[in-house]
């Protein structure tokens, strides 16, 4: 079975997550060997996924943790008697 580009795109996310079966993976790999468009789509998607996972993209607001724990301390103290 030969698969086309659209078919590859449908499975790109699962492919990146290692969530495709061996047969499909082999088909996709074979397609990628000769299709530079799908290779670029796969590589760019994977690159986006890697960049998003970096903690520097989403940082907690400055002082977030301090304010949270201060509020918590206040609440823990209020509940002390209960």
């Amino acid at each position: 079975m030969k698969i086309d580009c659209k078919h590859v795109w449908q499975h790109i996310s699962a492919y990146i997550d290692g969530d495709v079966d061996a047969v499909l993976r082999a088909e996709i790999d074979r397609h990628l060997e000769t299709c530079e468009i799908c290779s670029a789509v796969l590589d760019s998607t994977r690159n986006v996924v890697v960049l998003m996972a970096d903690d520097r993209v989403f940082e907690l607001p400055a002082g977030f943790s301090d304010r949270l724990h201060a509020r918590l301390d206040h609440d823990l103290a209020l509940n002390e008697g209960s």
Partner: protein, 210 residues
């Protein structure tokens, strides 16, 4: 801190808090702070309200700790509480919101065709030292419809597995996979053409289609 890192000692920590060692709660909740805040920020799209909702969530977790049954991960339980807190606030603010929660459903057609490129040079994570790249990524995620934004946040940003993501959002694992796929396709289409400017320049430029 090792004490709260594995499930058995997390249970022990919870038991001791309930037995009166309340100060231990600070350490118990610390690993959940980041996902709580970003889940709420993704729902509420307002930093001040997200922080307030995050504090409210943590207080609720503390007050309801005796209700935690241990049949799910502690973090999953905490994030469900955060999500409920966020949804409650959204309902109150309904009129201010332009995109209603169920504006888009899984069945709905959308254009998930990727950006077509003929070659790709990887943008290394070191590039994130540059403020513009982070802000580009954040904007792209904020522009996603809500049902995709939450899934990307939990799966790709907080790196939770499919099962936990499904549990937090109250959807099936299949729906998590479909939504994640669509979200990544939308992000690739939005970002790939812009990210090319961040790729390291070496040798001659390849032809970037589009």
């Amino acid at each position: 801190m090792g004490m709260v890192s594995n499930p058995a000692s997390e249970a022990e920590c919870i038991r001791r808090i309930l037995a009166g060692e309340r100060h231990l709660f600070h350490e118990l909740i610390r690993p959940c702070e980041r996902p709580i805040y970003f889940l709420l920020s993704s729902l509420l799209r307002n930093d001040t309200e997200a922080e307030d909702a995050a504090q409210e969530t943590v207080i609720k977790v503390f007050r309801n700790l005796h209700l935690f049954r241990g049949d799910s991960q502690f973090r999953t339980w905490v994030l469900s509480i955060a999500r409920n807190e966020g949804l409650g606030r959204l309902r109150k603010n309904e009129t201010r919101r332009e995109d209603s929660l169920d504006a888009l459903t899984d069945g709905e057609a959308g254009d998930f065709t990727p950006a077509i490129l003929t070659s790709w040079r990887e943008v290394p994570t070191e590039t994130l030292e540059r403020q513009e790249l982070g802000s580009l990524l954040r904007k792209a995620i904020e522009a996603l419809p809500e049902i995709y934004r939450n899934v990307v946040l939990l799966r790709d940003i907080e790196e939770m597995d499919v099962r936990e993501t499904a549990a937090v959002l109250g959807i099936s694992e299949g729906a998590v996979k479909v939504r994640l796929h669509r979200a990544r396709a939308l992000l690739q289409r939005d970002l790939a053409p812009k990210l090319k400017a961040f790729a390291p320049k070496r040798g001659k430029l390849f032809g970037w289609a589009r």
